[in-house]
């Protein structure tokens, strides 16, 4: 029919009959934008709807995969691999595509209308320590010309011997000088060095793969991966069940100078308080020096592995979701012998700077299993989140490289 071409763009989008395998709240539907892209981590969508995804490993000689839908059906039909680095951080900022490999932040100029960025690479920040644990470098920007980079601690709880039973925590923990926090750099300067040019914006954060600048509140937020193995190292203090539930994955409102207490402290959402870690003399209840540390705004159950956070500013989703936070939980490995948990996208409603209610599961079904005994059982694991120009929510998976677009009505 002739009127078809005048229909709003959304009408051409047919969700998949099975919503790409996801279960969603009433009124939401999803389609698979692309599949088998590689180990798809974080994602950005520009004003034209072009999609940029970081890859944990190179695929087709590229560490960034660029997607375009030329037929307006929501499914990518141009797929191109780009860039020599692999990693997690990716963000579009002032006509550049920034990329956070595990050891380097680089950027490429975007050319309007073209899917691929220009190949002229500039190094934005170098000189990061080379980690073999918690090496991902997620990035975000504020409106005042700053770039924020998580530098994870290459450690569980700063023990003298890494992850070894009976080994105590180093005090003070020397890792905090170069790791275990969020550093701030200039967004537009090139060849910055972590030590010379970086400012430690916040500390005491073990590793926060999920970081996002909330533009409305002009505030940085992060979600921390909490420490592991309380029961393995301290069987007299923690049962296997307690160790699978604790400590919380902490949702952090990050202010300049914040100190959230890693490795000395962890948050316990069942007692709703920060307590001293057992490597530093804690017994699961003693608070000690942790009373001086900053608390999270919310504590999620242990080990769910928050890998991305996004404050929703679109107008496609119902009122309840506006300015709230979506969090992609990659799913646990460290709840064994209990069943693993997570493997979903959660939603946290917000009022101003803080949550206005409890969290809930928003999108589930990624694992494709009733129960995940070990992570390899999961078909998909949610890892990255982005908002499209029409207010759709995009979710990536880093097992097979699937991308979903979640829509309302």
């Amino acid at each position: 029919m002739a009127c078809r071409t005048e229909a709003p763009r959304l009408n051409l989008l047919q969700a998949d009959a099975d919503n790409g395998g996801l279960s969603l709240p009433e009124g939401f539907s999803a389609l698979v934008v692309a599949d088998s892209l590689g180990n798809a981590r974080h994602i950005e969508v520009n004003e034209q709807g072009d999609i940029y995804i970081s890859l944990a490993r190179l695929k087709n000689d590229g560490g960034i995969v660029c997607l375009r839908d030329t037929t307006n059906d929501g499914r990518a039909d141009e797929i191109a691999y780009f860039g020599n680095h692999h990693g997690t951080g990716i963000a579009l900022h002032n006509d550049y595509l920034y990329f956070g490999s595990d050891t380097l932040i680089v950027r490429y100029p975007m050319i309007y209308g073209q899917l691929l960025p220009n190949e002229r690479e500039e190094v934005v920040v170098k000189g990061f320590p080379h980690n073999t644990q918690h090496a991902a470098k997620p990035i975000t920007f504020d409106e005042d010309g700053h770039l924020y980079v998580t530098i994870g601690a290459p450690s569980n709880a700063c023990m003298e011997q890494s992850r070894t039973k009976g080994s105590l925590g180093m005090d003070p923990c020397p890792l905090l000088e170069r790791h275990g926090g969020i550093w701030r750099f200039q967004a537009e300067a090139v060849n910055q060095d972590q030590v010379k040019d970086g400012e430690r914006y916040a500390t005491g954060i073990r590793h926060a793969v999920a970081i996002d600048w909330n533009k409305k509140e002009r505030t940085l937020y992060a979600v921390q991966h909490g420490r592991d193995q309380l029961n393995q190292f301290f069987p007299d203090l923690y049962s296997p069940q307690e160790s699978s539930e604790l400590p919380s994955e902490e949702f952090l409102l990050v202010e300049p100078g914040s100190d959230f207490g890693w490795p000395y402290c962890y948050y316990d959402h069942l007692q709703t308080k920060k307590v001293l870690g057992p490597e530093y003399g804690g017994d699961g209840e003693i608070v000690g020096r942790c009373s001086a540390k900053d608390d999270p705004i919310m504590g999620f159950p242990g080990h769910l592995a928050p890998n991305d956070v996004l404050f929703y500013t679109g107008d496609m989703f119902p009122e309840k979701y506006r300015n709230g936070a979506f969090i992609a939980f990659h799913g646990s490995w460290n709840r064994a012998p209990e069943p693993q948990q997570g493997y979903f996208v959660a939603f946290v409603p917000f009022e101003g700077k803080i949550p206005s209610g409890d969290w809930e599961v928003f999108a589930d079904g990624f694992s494709g299993q009733d129960e995940v005994k070990s992570p390899r059982d999961a078909n998909y694991r949610p890892c990255g989140l982005a908002q499209g120009p029409d207010g759709s929510l995009y979710v990536t998976d880093d097992v097979q490289g699937r991308v979903w677009r979640i829509m309302y009505q």
């Binding site: 490993r57 073999t132 644990q133 900053d294 919310m298 490995w333 949550p355 390899r376």
Partner: protein, 154 residues
């Protein structure tokens, strides 16, 4: 500088129970079930014919990373399903005793992480756990003796 915050937390066990559709009474029973299971596995390791003596050591020291079924964690912890590290007795004893770090390839996937040493385990415990891995998760290899572990310690 302590932030003013509200604590919104959730008793996750209840939450997960609701999610998976368990009734709350089942949930209340859960710790008891786990307790029974734990006793059962302790009994088994204390001499029943079904459980290998290395299973208790594995469950306590290795399972957290390599998982109950030995499948590991993609990108983090390599699987203990048949591979060259397990096939080579000396190599396997060495890894279990001294740990392992740096980039390695296992069954076509690369890992670059850290496994801590387990030299605080006794020769017998190490021999048991290595033998357990070498005869489970699809492996069907000869057992390792505590003398072989003792020799590798030196």
């Amino acid at each position: 500088m302590k932030q003013t915050t509200i604590y919104l937390s959730l008793v996750a066990s209840l939450f997960f129970a609701a999610c998976s559709g368990n009734s709350s009474s089942e949930q209340e029973n859960k710790p008891i079930v786990s307790q029974k299971q734990m006793e059962a596995s302790e009994q088994a390791s204390a001499g029943s014919q079904v459980a290998h003596p290395g299973k208790a050591v594995y469950d306590k020291y290795c399972l957290v990373c390599h998982q109950a079924d030995g499948s590991g964690v993609p990108g983090m912890y390599p699987p203990l399903t048949p591979n060259e590290w397990i096939a080579d007795k000396d190599k396997m004893i060495h890894v279990a005793l001294n740990g392992q770090s740096g980039e390695i390839e296992v069954n076509g996937e690369t890992y670059n992480n850290l496994m801590p040493p387990h030299d605080y385990l006794s020769d017998q415990e190490l021999a048991d756990v290595i033998s357990y891995v070498r005869s489970n998760f699809g492996n069907d290899l000869e057992a390792v003796t505590k003398e072989e572990v003792a020799a590798a310690r030196k």
